[in-house]
Point group: D3
Chain length 237, copies 6
Amino acid sequence: MRPSGRAPDEMRAITIETGYTKHAEGSCLIGFGDTKVLCTASVEERLPPWLRGKGQGWVTGEYSMLPRATHTRGNREAARGKQSGRTQEIQRLIGRSLRAVVDLEKLGERQITLDCDVIQADGGTRTASISGAWIALRLAVSGLMEQGQIKDDPITGKIAAISCGIYNGTPVLDLDYAEDSNADADANFVLIEGGKIAEAQATAEGATYDEEGLMRLLRLAQIGCAQIFKSQDEATK
Amino acid sequence: MRPSGRAPDEMRAITIETGYTKHAEGSCLIGFGDTKVLCTASVEERLPPWLRGKGQGWVTGEYSMLPRATHTRGNREAARGKQSGRTQEIQRLIGRSLRAVVDLEKLGERQITLDCDVIQADGGTRTASISGAWIALRLAVSGLMEQGQIKDDPITGKIAAISCGIYNGTPVLDLDYAEDSNADADANFVLIEGGKIAEAQATAEGATYDEEGLMRLLRLAQIGCAQIFKSQDEATK
Amino acid sequence: MRPSGRAPDEMRAITIETGYTKHAEGSCLIGFGDTKVLCTASVEERLPPWLRGKGQGWVTGEYSMLPRATHTRGNREAARGKQSGRTQEIQRLIGRSLRAVVDLEKLGERQITLDCDVIQADGGTRTASISGAWIALRLAVSGLMEQGQIKDDPITGKIAAISCGIYNGTPVLDLDYAEDSNADADANFVLIEGGKIAEAQATAEGATYDEEGLMRLLRLAQIGCAQIFKSQDEATK
Amino acid sequence: MRPSGRAPDEMRAITIETGYTKHAEGSCLIGFGDTKVLCTASVEERLPPWLRGKGQGWVTGEYSMLPRATHTRGNREAARGKQSGRTQEIQRLIGRSLRAVVDLEKLGERQITLDCDVIQADGGTRTASISGAWIALRLAVSGLMEQGQIKDDPITGKIAAISCGIYNGTPVLDLDYAEDSNADADANFVLIEGGKIAEAQATAEGATYDEEGLMRLLRLAQIGCAQIFKSQDEATK
Amino acid sequence: MRPSGRAPDEMRAITIETGYTKHAEGSCLIGFGDTKVLCTASVEERLPPWLRGKGQGWVTGEYSMLPRATHTRGNREAARGKQSGRTQEIQRLIGRSLRAVVDLEKLGERQITLDCDVIQADGGTRTASISGAWIALRLAVSGLMEQGQIKDDPITGKIAAISCGIYNGTPVLDLDYAEDSNADADANFVLIEGGKIAEAQATAEGATYDEEGLMRLLRLAQIGCAQIFKSQDEATK
Amino acid sequence: MRPSGRAPDEMRAITIETGYTKHAEGSCLIGFGDTKVLCTASVEERLPPWLRGKGQGWVTGEYSMLPRATHTRGNREAARGKQSGRTQEIQRLIGRSLRAVVDLEKLGERQITLDCDVIQADGGTRTASISGAWIALRLAVSGLMEQGQIKDDPITGKIAAISCGIYNGTPVLDLDYAEDSNADADANFVLIEGGKIAEAQATAEGATYDEEGLMRLLRLAQIGCAQIFKSQDEATK
């Protein structure tokens, strides 16, 4: 019934290639099926002005799609001179999500920027970004610890994100573009390993959903994130 | 226990003054306690280019805070030359929410813009905007129907929004600024009269929440929106 | 003869509601008939870089119209990414006018920003802004004096502004929109209580005027400002 | 008493070099002492969208200072990405002033842009721009008439502008930079040959002025513009 | 003597992975050592306004570096709101170079945009972009020919680009970052297979060069481009 | 055969008027036939942040065309809110070229900005800008030396620039607009007196050129620059 022939609770294949770029302190190319996002973590010893001298660090996210990551070419945001509302919404979500599993005082007075650049899009780019950004962050922080720049691990847990939605009346996990563009409802969950929720965002598109629908989507997300946590574990061992 | 002395499921006083400005086709000044938002609905007979000639209309939202709506003066976005990510995120939410209760074909080839300008802020400005925008929209559409420009009512139901959150470990309804800035989790729900959910957004701030926490927040929101639906009803009779 | 039936030297009703918003150090909603402007004074203890360390303060103005303050909806300047020439011209005029009655050394090293946001427009928004901004400034400065932060009153006098013009060949006072959009000449005067002129701006629109016309407009403005000074007096007692 | 040794009602030398650039339909380099402005009139057969098909033309002005026209180098507005409020205010004034002496219907469906670029500044650049722009416009329109593109002369009269102000308590004509930066009051008048006023703008700087002061400034402006009209006449014969 | 141990006329390893993204009509990831650029060709059936209805097509280029393609993270141009002068210079060069080997009339009324996004930078990103863009273009055009949308091949030849420079007094080919940042002179050549030059740009950095130096750099470029032409040939067979 | 009737290696008349503006520390109006560029050198005692405290100065260039310098009026870049890629490319070239003949340590901790504003354009504006900027720089530096602010002359030689190209199959020197817009190849050379090359940029337009063509263009440039060096010499004596 799903265009891809997947079962309702079946994820796409997760692929993770760590160390994808040589300059970043941590990086990976993460794939959920045909969605491919390059996530890099950049460590800088300077903080935004409003945080200086407060004995803590900062974690922030930036997001972009290459113009031809999509079916039809999109305009380059740098050429248009501003980032779209969608881009800003996503990069705020990435930063907020990652900060949910970082002890900013233990991080020390430094900033880590998580750049998520979508190389190819087939649905679920924001959730792939968050899941991959955690890996880049983990690798960068482990590097800082090996160099003795950080003593206590500031990362308090694993975080992963997945989309799910109601497609043709059925709740399904990990929507690809064909499903996403026709879903009745669309949700993104950011979950912390161990059962906690960092973010839940569910939007009705045309059709609406009720309390039970929201619960069913959350449970699908729990299934999906369990698999991502496992993949993150393997990638960062 | 709440700074305001309210019970956990107690809303602030809702005040609605319809027809607040004389030029808009529909308008109200809506207040939730000290939060005051001016909502206007403007009807225009031209559509954005990508919608022309498709036999349907459009509903969109814009949002802004006056510079001194808040405790300390914020910079004017027009002077800085761009809207913040927060502003864009909110105005996308307003438009999406209102479109969830409008049949765009019945609306006909016209656009209604819902401007939500925060006169005074004390928490919950985005949810007050949505609840007030529905009133402005209802008044504008009723006017179009009275003038015979629209035959079948394109509004399919009432929509309202409210914030809730976990404050000092307790789920509470309708957060004011004192609570909002110290909440462990913060959620905004956009509900449709009759039990459906249009949007659910829940974010952990510091602390996280679990499935049961999400459910309890949703139930508080249902209590709050029931009161808003009643107020909307009285205001638009 | 005037669309409103007013006599040539008759002002619209002046309404002033002080303390309109709770966060600003001084505020009022001022109305000249259907023109309504929210004026707030915000006190900040930091100065623009070019004024620091010179033993004086600064007073500046900002101006904006809500998108639907007018008959047809205008674009939001923050969305367009820049302020119009008209907006900038008006906010320069507001700042310059208020500085004409402030001793910046007595104000001390602080900045007061006068935000004038037009809620509803029916002609004369810039002059209403100046007249209302004086009230907001007066209230803010009196507050600083009561708190002992300023010793000597830095406000040297009252300032008020009014528009006048030549409509159907007759000089008239306090133009509303219906007159303003059809006037042969349009003037704005900013007067200081006691007979001095701070600003005079008179523009021919279509028809031109001569020396005598300019004098007659100035005398109408003197009549109008006398009434505004009285209203300011009552509002700030 | 004046830094330049001029009498209170004495103008600086006016120099006009017509045909200064070869591409523009009309042009001149106008000088008032050390203030030099290049004014060009460009005729285009297309109109701004809001004027098309209304059987009339348009006249507009643009203004800029070369970065080193002034004592200390100013930032290039194109590099900063926006025009200052001052620039916008001046170019609105130039356009409005010139339109006061043009019959837009006789001009036909074409736009004439008057570019005023300040090569060297020593006070009075906006008034020199207006006085020079009239010459460029006159030359361009005469060219269109010679080519038979316009039948009836759309220019209804001569227009000129001059600054005056109160310097050390004395009203003086045609302020140079040394006076302008220390004047108690500063006024710009745009006058039409024959005694009419197109624009009057008088601003108190520090000191204020009264009704009589305004009149005295206007009379100085009449003396100055009479000389400019004569120079315009010679230049365009 | 070269930091990498290469001989003066020795290129870095060229790697080309065609079909790197699934949506673009043509694409490759091209590598010159550690420099990696993703080049995509996007075919659109609409032209920029100034080219419509002239019976010809257009080829244009866009260029960007991912923020962490470099040793230290650079600001995202979309976030800063404008493209740097360097970016614009490079994308103008890419478009101009590719158009040198395309018959725009045979291409027909369509536009091909060549997006060159630098994934990892180690010197020579602009020349890698041009060499890779040709491959993406070749693949896209061959696709259009197979689909019967173009009859006669509009591509008139191969084009490739390489940098060379004077490093420690010796002319060397294909500079990496370590050399580029310390070179006495830096040149980029864009050559067409068969001996013609499309672009030559040589800049002295500190030291200057003479006629003979320019010739020696050109000859190194000819050696380098011969190898690139071979690699392009293999990649597009 | 050339539209102007000039011999292939014949320059247009060079005109130089030094001291063209009174405020700049050095200035000239340079003409190559009908191309006229105003070049000013502004000395400032502050440096860009990244250069402070390094014991050296900086030389930079800015470039602009007046809107009606050209046959048809161009948009004002300040009004459009950004500088074109072409403008940025040219001003980077001006700065880089002038720095090639300045010892930045001997200049001391100050910045010299070379503003090149095109008053009238007829081809070759960027090369005229460089040749004229050298004169403005020379005059400004000589002034600093006379005032004792600089001891050792930081200018290490003369620099000049000229365009040449292939027109109707023949290499020609100093292209005017009629030639430039129809040339098969277009080159700009920046040469240092004594035989060294600072910049060589040669672009095929339609037709391409080979190694011999490049050499012939370079030799024409050497002929042209020899004349410019002589004119620079006379102008700055």
